[in-house]
């Protein structure tokens, strides 16, 4: 018999939102201390957190960050919040993030990947001229993703934890402030924007579909007419042939 608490609750699903990503900032030369590696230019932090700083330790036990192979001790384990690693560097690379869950969950760790971004991305910016690079700012560069971890059929013990701890409702910050804070861009308003964007896409696709449908009807009619015409002609030819034979 399975020990109590390990048994899974059928037909139940729970989810928890998480935000993972990086924040990087250029460190001006005057601020670089003696321990700052000479070839490094930025200080960055990779993190896994809850939305708007909400606690995730009730379901996350440990987070493992796998950095670039050039870093000493490239595998960093963080076993208590905040689940983050701060480092310095000069380049961008992909970080592997492994989220370990609390023992009550009885779940295997989940692996995520995130690309460290230390320079801001602006598609409208002109192509860089290597001779005259644009002046670098010390503004933080955020690159973060929102996702939801779905626990299907959680164990009884874990369900008890999930029922009492954690809040999944998205905070509302008002339409005007939807994207005001780059550190916390995920809120009710952003979600609404996203839904609207998808709905607009659906509308556009529906229009295309309607066009195609009309075209199909038109083509079907055209085909039917062609077939009818051919059959009529064939009948006529057959009739005239029979008349000739009889005569």
């Amino acid at each position: 018999m399975a020990p109590s608490g390990i048994k899974r609750v059928k037909g139940i699903s729970a989810f928890r939102p998480i935000v993972y990503g990086t924040v990087a900032r250029r460190v001006p030369p005057e601020e670089r201390g003696p321990n700052f590696p000479p070839d490094h230019t930025h200080r960055w932090t990779v993190f896994v957190k809850g939305i708007h700083g909400r606690d995730i330790s009730h379901f996350v036990k440990k987070v493992q960050f796998k950095l670039h192979e050039t870093y000493a001790n490239r595998i960093r384990n963080v076993e208590a919040p905040p689940f983050q690693v701060t480092e310095t560097g000069w380049g961008e690379f992909e970080i592997q993030i492994k989220v370990y869950f609390v023992p009550e969950a009885g779940e295997k760790p989940l692996t995520l990947f995130h690309f460290l971004k230390i320079r801001p991305y602006n598609p409208e910016m002109p192509i860089e001229d290597p001779a005259n690079p644009p002046p670098e700012t010390s503004e933080p560069v955020y690159s973060q993703q929102y996702d939801e971890i779905i626990f299907n059929e959680p164990t009884e013990a874990f369900l008890e934890i999930l029922k009492t701890k954690g809040d999944v409702t998205l905070p509302s910050v008002g339409k005007a402030n939807a994207r005001a804070d780059p550190a916390e861009p995920f809120n009710k308003e952003t979600e609404e924007d996203e839904v609207n964007r998808i709905n607009l896409a659906i509308k556009k696709v529906n229009e295309v579909l309607e066009e195609k449908r009309k075209l199909i009807v038109q083509k079907e009619q055209e085909l039917a007419e062609l077939r009818k015409k051919r059959l009529e002609k064939e009948e006529q030819e057959k009739g005239s042939k029979m008349e000739v034979d009889e005569s």
Binding site: G11, I12, P17, E191
Partner: protein, 375 residues
Amino acid sequence: MASKQDGLKRELIALLGNNGTAFSLSDFRVRVKKVSRPRKWTRTAAPHPTRKDSLTFSSWKPQGATSVYNPEAVPHESELTRLIAADRDIWAIDSDWPLDEIMYMLELWQAFDGRFFLVADRYNYQGKTRTVEQIKDCFYKCAQKSGAFRQSSVSKGFVNFNMEEAMLRKTLLASSLEKRTGDVEEADFLFSEYRRILAYQEKMIEERNALQDKLDLPVTPSNIHCFSGSHGLSYLSHSLLLSDKLKRKRQNPPQPQSEQPEKTHSRVHSESDHRKDKFSESSSNTKHGIGKVTKSHSGCSLRSVRCQFKGNATPKVLSLLSSLELASTVGMPTTETCSAFEVLQRQLHLVLDAKKMLDKLNHEIRTELARQPNS
């Protein structure tokens, strides 16, 4: 050292050794004695219980026995010969068997005590030979015609003698005896293969019939992309079966039973129902992100993974999205955005289906134009 034995015991010890299983030989010895004594069998008259006429029957009887051994008594050969001789006109009809030859055959039959194999072996009527089956056929026909067996229960078996069948059996037996191990194995293999194919065919017909029965449903307006592939039919059958099962479940909800174990089960069921209802209704569960699901696999996953395009049509969908200048990913995969995205996915598949349909129609129009008589 074991004492010297004799007779059967010695033979057994030689076979099994000194430590053989102990058993008594007395019963065995008696039986052997009884069985091993030969008895003389003699041909004796066997009166038939159902017959009222003067026809005499004969059969084999062991020496010392009080009753006739074989109840399947055949008419006395001399009787048959007498009958045939008395009514010659009946027998002259068959051109294949002249009356003289019949008489010759009966003589042989009499000489060899009705042993057909010997009759066939010694048969030499004016240089002509006959097979066992031919002789048997003739003999039984004669016996039938003569009316000797008409009232006998034994005659039924003889009347049913079919020469063609007997010949076929013989040929089959001869061919099977000629077979080598390899041939037998091959035949076995072919037979098993044949049976497998037949079973498969039956299964396929059954499945097809079941599917056709199920296809009497209204046409769905939703996406049928997943059914159009090479695995489409099996997928369709699977999903139809599933929906059928669900339908049946809905139609027959679990009834409360009077028996104790059933009671427990229903109690558990109602508890879980209650729990589920509680989950769906409670606002705290909405706050904690707990809800009901109809179909799920245990384990954890990311919602963003569910908002990705899957399947063979993915490149086409992506190119369609880029042609419409739409993003192919969800920036914030929440329940609402994902459900909206699923709708978008379905619509995109419909567009692809429509495109395919248009291409097909265009092709058909081109073909039709080429087939026009004046073209």
